[in-house]
Subunit: 151 residues, 2 copies
DNA sequence: GGAAAATCGTGGATCAGATCGATCGCAAGA
DNA sequence: TCTTGCGATCGATCTGATCCACGATTTTCC
């Protein structure tokens, strides 16, 4: 994992469909070793895949809500059960286990507030073992970077 | 934006490098109109680009922290100034303007807690106009989906 | 109901890019 | 000095993208 690998990752985060020839030129290699490095990064799992970046608003999901969930119990089993339940909710884009009171933080997307309310009432709140939840609504996404800092 | 477009988006979110022929088969079209639809989605900005998914831990950034920032003033100018400042910090992956007390929420990545402390002290806290900050540390990423729900 | 527009399917041709193997050069380390 | 690893270059081959033309089907709208 040297400087050239980092350049490759930066370039492919920006444009995951870049041609090998262009990528090679961008990082200062010839195409053959450049392709070898990309294949290596994929095999080692540094690159776990490629995705189209889809505009949330354009597909009718303009609303983002963060939900902090506190569980009644913090055992491994309770966490696993909660994770399995939440994994079935496709509105939940991210789920983090937090330090401190062992909260859980969810990032949820929705069509509108009514849609989110449906999610909360009929899906999330029906998961057993939740002590309480606190929802924080976003007004606007100011920054959404897709480039990890690789300096 | 019909059901086929949604299938295309779902498939390309999962694998942004899928061949047109395979994509066409997956969504039940022949390659020619399938390519046409993809080009349309790109032109309309529904697909804003393609990215390699890079494993955060594998590039030495295993730590994710959410930072809630409260500004002293909530004017448009103050927000713009804050946004411009934060945009220069490449550790900040996401930045949301929140409802309520007009907080701001940041998702920050770091090599370790020392690295995060450096960021906090030497970068974020030097931005003028911050009343206070509250950092929440993640222990583990339970779910990180890259598929918007398109049903 | 009917005409117009949009969309799809197929086939063929062309072109760009990926891939692979072989060979060579260079530099670091044993 | 010899080995090893990495990159550069070249040529051959294969795959996939793109574009065209044509006919058929579906949808939309009057």
């Amino acid at each position: 994992m040297d400087q050239i690998d980092r350049k490759i990752l930066a370039a492919l985060q920006d444009n995951g469909r870049m041609k090998i020839a262009d990528l090679a030129e961008a990082v200062g290699l010839s195409p053959t070793p450049c392709a070898r490095r990309v294949a290596n990064l994929e095999d080692r799992g540094v690159i776990s895949g490629y995705s189209a970046r889809v505009n949330q608003a354009e597909v009718g999901l303009p609303v983002t809500i963060f939900v902090a969930v506190e569980l009644e119990r913090q055992s491994t089993e309770a966490l696993q059960a909660f994770e399995a339940a939440v994994r079935r909710f496709d509105q939940v884009m991210e789920c983090y286990l937090m330090t401190g009171s062992r909260d859980i933080l969810l990032r949820v997307v929705a069509r509108d507030l009514t849609d989110f309310d449906q999610f909360l009432e009929h899906r999330l709140m029906r998961v057993p073992g939740i002590r309480n939840t606190r929802s924080s609504f976003t007004l606007r996404t100011m920054i959404d970077r897709n480039q990890l800092p690789l300096g």
